[in-house]
Amino acid sequence: MLVSYATLGYPNKEDYLRLVKGLVEAGSDILEIGLLPKYAKYDGPVIRRSYKQVSTWLTDFWSLLEETRRAVDVPLVILTYLEDWVTSLPDTLARMKDVGINGVLFPDLLIDFIDEYEKYVNEIKSHGLNAVIFTSPSVPDPLIHKVSKISDMFLYYGVRPTTGVPLPVSVDSLITRVRTLVNNKLVVGFGLSDIEDMKKALRAGADGVAIGTVYIEEIERNGVESAISLARKFRGILDGS
């Protein structure tokens, strides 16, 4: 399963729409779309740069989400911080459903809202949306096991404490360990910085990978088309070629 991330509206409207279409054509199974947050608590410097750029021009993100929905036919999962929506959650979820969004992923759910996470998961599901749960190495084993069963589509497991900073972690041993706890599809992300990391993750039992920072870095260096070719390459790895 290839889950490709794009920051909504990055690098600009036209290129963003080209990117999401290209990522799907290149074989992405699911698109994860990041909404500009008030505080990118768990994002590394690369994704933060993309948010900063988007913040200079994007005012109506709902209409761009609608355009995204029209542009591609794979499931769309919104990545956004619950903190930003906690006071207006029912309306926001209803609107996402109307737009045709398939799921939502709150990276801060099990950290900043741990005492009420079940309430929020139920709320997401009650609006007909998939609740994709984000876990990480600092989530205790019994909790990973428990939430893996209620996470829709797949369980997201971020191997590093922040995106896009290649801190030294043992990807294979982390995933070998977490695989035994997860009763669901397991998608690994957050700092899979190179092909070797991806291969290790898959060999250790991951069902898929989530890629984000690498695309943004590639866009910064060589533009959108080059990021799309990367997606093609990742598809090849997943397909075993």
């Binding site: 008030k38 505080y39 990118a40 608590k41 768990y42 590394g44 410097p45 933060r48 099990l110 950290i111 900043d112 741990i114 876990t135 990480s136 190495p137 600092s138 989530v139 205790p140 084993d141 909790l143 590093r160 404490p161 922040t162 900073v165 290649p166 801190l167 030294p168 972690v169 043992s170 041993s173 982390l174 360990r177």
Partner: protein, 424 residues
């Protein structure tokens, strides 16, 4: 009976997978002009950083580090404090794990050795750190020397002045020692500009050490607070568990003092993780009231804000602690894992003032003969109170505490305390 070397574990214990809730991860501040998390890669040895973020419950201790532990006299003794029990006329049994029985006189060497070892393996030739009371700096100075590395220590100015012998030991081991705030770093210059007589704080010394390591391409060793330090210190608790098993004892109450939380966590976490014991007491200083007055918030571990934000019980990074004699307890925060366990009600806390800990130190040294470090005397005070309560309730409980260091280099402090408290 196991021979003494068999008491030393082959693995360190990591409590993260056994915590009741997810440990909030480190963060970069909003609108950060650079990533502090990324900065960790530049300042810390990479194996130390890998262990900081590991989730393995048991992390193998390299053979060479285990040998180094043996070389410094591990396992440290677990001693029954019979004379203290008699003095208190308590039905409780009291044991202490004596971490003062290492060459540097405290538990700090348990993490300095592996951090220096991993640095040496990576080809690093110069280590930098900060120190409050001097125990950590001493441990780094010796560990660096053992692996043929140079070391520079930023020592909090008030301790530098109060504890000249600590400075001397570090220098004898071959370290360069500066009184922080210094004019060797931009941050130190800024602090001195604002207040030329600043007594210093651990947070400031930490910021200076990090800046100095960065600007010279050296590696920074971390002495407390971060998970990797607590991980290495778990050698204390793992040994104590085995030693108690050999004695056929089941501990009820476990006690340790808290500066940043490494000796407390290292001692108690293996027990907490395996659900041995029913009460865990973290003891801080009344004068530095982080447990009673601190907030559970994201805060910087260092005053300059060079390290990533971590969620911890904290008095705020700008907090300037009063110059109490337990220099090791002057830190503004407590380790994230310990902070969570306190917030979840799994670990209890106490705070005692200097007079209370001075009395406890006197009782201990007059019954057991060991001069405890003023920091460790905080734990002793809690032990005495628990033993007295056991007497009132006639409970035969087993109290075990970590005597995290000896106080033979704190005699001038005790002298001052004697004079001052005598005048009260």
């Amino acid at each position: 009976m196991a021979n003494s070397e068999e008491i030393i574990p082959s693995y360190w214990y990591n409590i993260i997978p056994d915590l009741p809730k997810p440990l909030p991860p480190p963060r970069d501040p909003p609108d950060a002009e650079f990533s502090r998390i990324d900065l960790l890669r530049k300042i810390m040895p990479s194996e130390v950083l890998r262990q900081q973020f590991t989730v393995e419950r048991f992390v193998p201790i390299p053979k060479e580090v285990r040998e180094a532990y043996i070389n410094i006299g591990r396992p440290t003794p677990l001693v029954r404090a019979r004379r203290l029990e008699e003095f208190l006329n308590t039905p409780a049994k009291i044991y202490f794990k004596y971490e003062g029985a290492t060459p540097t006189g405290s538990h700090k060497i348990n993490t300095a050795l592996p951090q220096a070892y991993f640095s040496m393996k990576e080809g690093v030739d110069h280590l930098v750190t900060e120190t409050g009371a001097g125990q950590w700096g001493t441990a780094v100075a010796l560990s660096a020397r053992m692996y043929g590395l140079n070391s520079t220590i930023f020592m909090v100015k008030v301790s530098y002045e109060q504890k000249p012998q600590r400075r001397t030991i570090m220098q004898l081991y071959g370290a360069r020692v500066f009184a922080s705030p210094t004019s060797h770093t931009e941050y130190g210059k800024k602090v001195l500009n604002e207040n030329p007589n600043h007594p210093g704080s651990l947070g400031i010394a930490m910021s200076e050490a990090i800046e100095y390591a960065l600007s010279n391409g050296y590696k920074y060793l971390v002495g407390s607070v971060l998970d990797v330090v607590v991980l290495h210190q778990s050698v204390i608790g793992l040994e104590a568990m085995k030693q108690l098993q050999e004695l056929d004892e089941e501990p009820d109450v476990l006690v340790g003092c808290v500066g940043g939380g490494s000796n407390f966590g290292g001692f108690t976490f293996p027990f907490i993780g395996s659900k041995k014991g029913s009460k865990y007491i973290a003891v801080g200083s009344y004068e530095i009231p982080k447990f009673s007055k601190g907030a559970y918030n994201y805060d910087f571990p260092d005053s300059a804000g060079l390290l990533p934000l971590v969620k911890m019980i904290t008095l705020g990074r700008d907090y300037v602690p009063p110059p109490i004699y337990s220099g090791g307890l002057r830190y503004h925060g407590a380790a994230p894992s310990l902070s969570m366990l306190i917030k979840e009600g799994i670990v209890d806390w106490r705070e005692y003032n200097e007079k209370e800990i001075f009395e406890a130190a006197q009782i201990f040294l007059q019954t057991q003969g060991i001069v405890p470090a003023p920091e460790s005397s905080h734990a002793i005070r809690a032990v005495i109170e628990e033993a007295r309560e056991a007497k009132i309730k006639n409970e035969k409980k087993v109290i075990v505490f970590n005597l995290s260091g000896h106080g033979l280099l704190d005699l001038p402090n005790y002298e001052s305390m004697m004079k001052r408290i005598g005048q009260d």
